[in-house]
Symmetry: C2
Subunit: 243 residues, 2 copies
DNA sequence: CGAATCGTTGAGGTCGCTCAATCATAGTGG
DNA sequence: CCACTATGATTGAGCGACCTCAACGATTCG
């Protein structure tokens, strides 16, 4: 079994030192990647016994639909993110997952992850740490939608994306792939696509960032952070708790 | 050691059958309750090595402050809720906790809960299940703030509170303690207190519910649920996953 | 009694929405 | 190769949900 340097491993190792056995377990977990076509729904809300997925490359989105046709995007999982850990604990998914771009994922079944907690508690703990970090992002998202203006919360989203992608080495140059349409952004930010368009224009005209043709260029990260009121505390924590 | 029927135990047993050893571990976890005065902050954002707390009675709130003085309430923990599990995994709290009323809590230290995962994995799993349910509530909260109108999301909050309190036996009569000021509600719902006032009036005039003098009276739960577009799926799940 | 907190109501303002049109790009079938 | 369609970005005009500011009443507490 190889122990490839996946994005997920890279992320975990940024915070925990994993030993040989743990790296082997992790590699085994990610061993059989699967390709999912863009626009495919991986998990549907209320689905029973859903799998979890470790994203190796591509972009996804987690969302909930409302009766009136509205959609709220919860998060945008990217390479290195573990989707659906919660679905496993709850036995049923509280929201849907879909692929935005083509996606390479490792499927993780419920029994497998449960076994992992028993056989490799430190690795299990690291996975819980990653899941907790994702929760903290949802909380920050809630804060944005509830209490920040449209411009601030849009800036905030892009600062967060930048930092997340930097962590897995996908945003080194201040310019990176970002395949989010203005409709998708709107449903994430609690705005309309029309208004997102105007907000993006503002950010462009203020020389902060430009989103174009599926690529984001960050012109002034400090400025963007200042505008967003971004506090990176919830993203980069100290090492996780050891058993 | 006694094995008192606490709200937390009641909640867990609604979903898992716990054996004698597990009940003993649980009782031991909740053995030394502590009283916290109303308006006290238990955990401050960014606090290192924060404890977790099992609420035995009273109301609390989890929230984040913004630079401009704004506040976003994340959740209202009540009896039976486990606050701060995430702070333990992250080693630092991503938000603050405060007591709304006088509060009786059992303090749980990080090492203790870690040990629990090793010695009593099924109980650990049950705790993770409860934490996952709380996350699902935060997600639902995000959906409300992002995509529901002020009236709908207010109705939604009260439907959810009603169902949570019913689970621990505190809302049997369709009337129960609810010590939430309109300011607190506003900061939870992403509205202003003035607007919350008008929304509450609407709900009252439509004969759906009345919030008065710290008590909520639900006149028409089905009507309230219909208005809220409430789907209880995320609250009452099947039994949790066994090891 | 004064101070503080909370609820209530009114008048007017604004941020973001709705509706609608235009343009660019890419894909599709004839 | 060229309609024809679909998707996404862009911009304008007008509107409405919710906010801001302000005042006042009720209750509690020192």
């Amino acid at each position: 079994m190889t122990t490839a340097e996946t994005a997920f491993r890279r992320k975990l190792e940024r915070f925990v030192r994993l030993n040989g056995d743990e790296l082997a377990s992790l590699a085994e977990l990610e061993a059989r990647p699967r390709v999912i076509a863009a626009q495919t729904e991986l998990v549907h809300e209320h689905q029973q016994d859903a799998q979890a997925y470790i994203v190796q490359s591509g972009w996804a989105c987690a969302y909930k639909m409302l009766a009136d046709g509205g959609r709220q995007v919860i998060s945008f999982p990217v390479a290195g993110d573990f989707m659906g850990v919660r679905s496993i604990m709850l036995r049923t998914s509280d929201h849907s997952f879909a692929a935005i771009t083509d996606l390479v994922v490792a499927e993780v079944t419920a029994p497998r992850i449960m076994r992992l907690f028993a056989t490799s508690p430190r690795l299990g703990c690291a996975i819980l740490w990653a899941a907790s970090r994702d929760e903290a992002m949802v909380v920050e998202h809630l804060v944005g939608v509830g209490r920040r203006s449209a411009v601030m919360r849009t800036a905030h989203l892009f600062v967060e994306l930048t930092m997340r992608l930097q962590l897995v080495g996908l945003a080194d140059e201040g310019r990176f792939r970002c395949p989010l349409s203005q409709y998708l952004l709107a449903d994430s930010l609690g705005l309309t696509a029309v208004h997102v368009n105007r907000v993006l224009r503002q950010l462009r005209e203020r020389n902060l960032m430009t989103l174009r043709d599926g690529y984001l260029t960050v012109h002034d990260l400090p400025g963007l952070q200042r505008l967003a009121g971004h506090d990176s505390g919830y993203l980069d924590q100290a090492t996780i708790l050891e058993f």
